[in-house]
Amino acid sequence: MIDIQLLTTSLDTQECIRLVEHPSSGGTAVFIGTVRDTTKGKPVIRLEFEAYKPMAIAEMQKIAETIVDRWSALKVVIHHRTGSLNIGEIAVIIAVATPHRKAAFAACEYAIDTLKETVPIWKKEIFEDGDVWVAAHP
């Protein structure tokens, strides 16, 4: 029902979609977060992600459990990657299967918004001339 993974290897979109297949599902929403090539017009070379692993998994599990409770989700998958990621690579995949489509969209949006607020994962943007921990300062 819930599959949470924190991986150092490439994330697999097809695998995540397959994991949320369910006969009672009427819709699957998938969010794929990828590494963008610029920040405020400045070219980004790569991103480096790190996590406080046990708590990151626990917090992602909480998000998935909330989705099951609130939107009657049949299956929830959250896979997040850590380590060094190049432009275009996938940092996170969230897939939610629900009986009706609206719930899938809402649940998926809730998942990524909440993940960005509560899950102890940090990313550093690497530029030509230095690096910055994302969102650290006001």
């Binding site: 406080y52 708590m55 960005k116 102890p120 940090w122 550093k124 650290a136």
Partner: protein, 97 residues
């Protein structure tokens, strides 16, 4: 050092200092200069007291958008009392996804 002959009451009224070992991730690791840092607290052993001590010892923590403390893999509020054998982690603003 305490002189001999002083009563138990006098002993317990002395401020006691405890040392807490903290793990640091993200920008917190850069600020403290390593994966771990020891912080000593005297008399008050709350999460709030710990944050104050961190900000006094490392003023860069005051510049962050937020500063949270996780104890044994759970976010804790300022009132929470720490034990020296807790796993205490400095959580600077998160930025997953």
């Amino acid at each position: 050092m305490m002189k001999q002959g002083k009563g138990r009451a006098a002993l317990s009224s002395q401020p006691e200092t405890k040392k807490f070992r903290l793990l640091a991730f993200g920008i917190a690791r850069d600020i403290v200069g390593g994966n771990e840092v020891d912080i000593e607290l005297t008399d008050a052993y709350s999460v709030g007291a710990l944050k104050t001590a961190l900000q006094e010892n490392y003023p860069d923590f005051k510049r962050l958008k937020s500063l949270a403390i996780a104890v044994n893999e759970t976010y804790r509020t300022d009132e929470h009392i720490l034990n020296t054998n807790d796993e205490i982690v400095i959580i600077p603003p998160v930025s997953g996804g």
